[in-house]
Symmetry: C3
Subunit: 342 residues, 3 copies
């Protein structure tokens, strides 16, 4: 199933322009370091220009600023990184999916499965669920009662979607994802926790991707909402009644507590956290490992990282954090003393 494209056809489909031989054919995309003669590579940052001299790639994708940095056959694009993604998608089409329900799948009589959809082995589709056109429900997935899944959705093996959740078109959910488990709602009553029924849903827009083992809890009363174009990495925890704005991207292991709203086009670094009931405005960047404990009203970059050092140095420095208030008072006293003296 190897496919190949001449550069001329790539630009015909994807835009940009060719410099050098436009009939060079490429069969795969690769790094400058590892590319072979039948492969195309790319340069997304001029500071790696030196690698152009030594690459064995048959062609490269470059930005305008680097257009003349090599004599290799090349495609010039305004956004070489996105161009690379598009070329890779052409050269690496998804495996063909065969419509139909595997004999080992367990599908409720009242489920509505589009005839172009694929239900893989041992998947379970519950009563009243709807699976849209060209969607693939992977092996061992579980789709609960009355779930609605749109078109061109791909659930990889062992994804669980609890009852009543709604998923738009083009979702990609990787293995181990759990959508719609109960939010963590408990009330203390006479020395015991009482469970608060979680009667909201999870509602996911179009063009969302969710990484392996990420969990998104259903709402307590209202819904948990993931807007269009949101991209979630692996092992993320989204609590009940969170809303994530369109086109926000979140790296692995992030935890977002209940009822927090995150704006559009935010970027959240790995293992960061956001406490509950906060508002994060659009276009906020949160660094990896940073806990956000208050609402953020202004776009920009926010950080809370303890700088690492050799352990013995850390020990010498960190001990003073438990006495920082005292240190500040000592400095104040010195200032007062000097001030009085002066």
């Amino acid at each position: 199933m190897t496919v190949s494209y001449p550069l001329a056809e790539l630009v015909a489909q994807l835009g940009g322009r060719v410099l050098g031989k436009a009939n060079v054919r490429v069969t795969q995309i690769s790094t400058l370091e590892h590319a072979q003669a039948n492969q195309i590579s790319f340069l997304t940052n001029s500071k790696y220009r030196a690698q152009l001299a030594s690459t064995k790639a048959g062609a490269v994708i470059l930005g305008e600023a680097d257009a003349d940095a090599t004599e290799l056959p090349r495609i010039i694009s305004d956004n070489p990184y996105a161009y690379f993604a598009k070329v890779s998608a052409l050269l690496n089409p998804l495996p063909q999916v065969f419509a139909g329900v595997h004999p080992s799948a367990i599908v409720s009589d009242s489920a509505k499965i589009d005839k172009t959809a694929c239900i893989e082995a041992t998947a379970v589709i519950s009563a009243g669920a709807t699976i849209g056109a060209h969607s693939v429900i992977g092996a061992g997935c579980y789709v609960g009662d009355n779930v609605v899944i749109g078109n061109h959705v791909r659930l990889y093996p062992r994804v669980v979607v609890y009852h009543d959740c709604v998923i738009g078109n083009n979702l990609i959910a990787h293995s181990g994802v759990v959508i719609g488990g109960d939010g963590f709602g408990i009330a203390m009553d006479a020395g015991r926790w009482i469970k608060i029924p979680q009667i909201g849903r999870v509602v996911i827009g179009n063009d969302v991707e969710i990484g392996a083992n990420t969990t998104i809890d259903r709402g307590a009363l209202d819904d948990t909402v993931i807007e269009d174009g949101v991209k979630l990495d692996n092992q993320i925890q989204i609590a009940h009644n969170v809303r994530i704005g369109a086109h926000t991207a979140i790296a692995g292991c992030v935890g977002i507590a209940g009822s927090t709203t995150i704006g559009k086009y935010c970027l959240i670094g790995g293992s960061a956290g956001i406490l509950g009931h906060l508002q994060i405005t659009d276009r906020v960047e949160i660094s990896a490992f940073s806990l956000i404990g208050k609402s953020i009203r202004e776009a920009g970059s926010y950080t809370a990282i303890f700088p690492f050092s050799k352990t013995e140095e850390w020990r010498a420095n960190a001990v003073h954090l438990r006495h920082l208030d005292e240190l500040v008072k000592r400095v104040k006293t010195l200032e007062n003393t000097i001030g009085k003296d002066a």
Copy 2:
């Protein structure tokens, strides 16, 4: 399957007292903001009293202090949050479960399945396992050899319980939970790690809830123990030989290292961590994102959070943490100099 209750019947079942029309019927619970005329809402904090004026709810649940804050039909309770939970449970009964073993489930001949239990599609029940009365083993769950599961337990789809673990009554375990995987026990021997067999079990008391994708490892020699009434959110990691005291609640993404004992009625915030071989006494609160590195002998609240700020401000401030010991010495020198001068 809509149910409805008049206020009079709610107080007959749940206590409290009605002010206003006791024959008003409610069919669902909702927030003050979104409630409709056939719904009941609640106010758990007097500072949101203003919302009472604009709510369209047909009735509300209030604390004594707010009993006269509206003329809506209302139930007065000492603990309106817990009351709300109980009303919601009445209005949202769990779907009825049909006893029996789905034909696609794989059940060992030597497993003992109560005749009121439900084994859903594609679940696997291994040799010698016991499933108690009214328990539901969800689709695709795996129950290992000789596992004992009590009554009224609910395993959502794709839960795994390894061999020999013991689970009490009323456990709710959400999808992706893994109970009884091997603890992380390795010994270095001549440049290679040797595995230490993990021969303990996981023993879980009554009335426990475990969130999606949480993992609880089996003990190395003795057992890992989760006491009655413990509530665990999603994506938590409980290492081998940990003991969690009764009615402790732990938020998402927390990691607890091996052989640590946590007391009763503790509250542990999201993404917090507790190192191994520690003792945490009863009624300790640990803030989100805080690492506890020593035993805590005194009830109270503990925190270790680096405050976030704009990244440029963080950069200016955080750089000094690597020189904090030097700063303290400089202040000491100043104090000595001033002291000598004075």
Copy 3:
């Protein structure tokens, strides 16, 4: 299936020497505190010597330094902790595995299953996959197209291995592990994220163990690589194109960002993080909860932990971190003033 060994046979198989009665038989290993007369215990740290006096163990494993610390029958070893692990493995053999494919498993005609392998109930083995000798594919596992799995591999129930990944011999992967999900590769193009196809694989060496719900993403272009003897605890996230050096051990909940290379014999504490595109040399120790944001060229121990304290003390101290740069400037001013005065 109880097995028992006299001490004489243990040293014949495992080395070391016996002091006291060599014909004492032991059936299980236990802690000094809980051991019974037919059990063997061990002391790995001389500071717990006092427990030797009260133990009811029938025999103990000791280091040379403690050889005379008891009169109990005992085995003396250079490395009593590793010795304990080996004795435990003898006393706790894995349950026997029966070769063959369970009738409910779904195995592609083009898969190559060694005749000594065991494919458990409801497992799915895809086209072109290879399963080596004596390997066990647990209930509900999914093995993708063309995956190669070596000999003596144990996948516990509900492990997923995506297409084309390569796994060496003796892997142990616990439930919920996902190997080969797509890396988090996205490119912004005109206000929308484009997916970057992840066409690399995950390649895992020999003698690796992976804890429950850990995820290892496939490479974007080249492979993600886990070298021989690596030990990974639960809930770890390994991003695309990471390389982990041989015999490195990583505790639970760690996140490692894309394209980072970690050396051999590193030890990484729980919930630590390592940013992307970094180089960590051999024999680096990273403390729990520490974020590593730059490459580490020198072996040793590194830490970035905010020390915990009572919340009111934390509040008083932490507030100054947002003004640390100002504090340093105030000290500088004082130094200048004093210097001028002096």
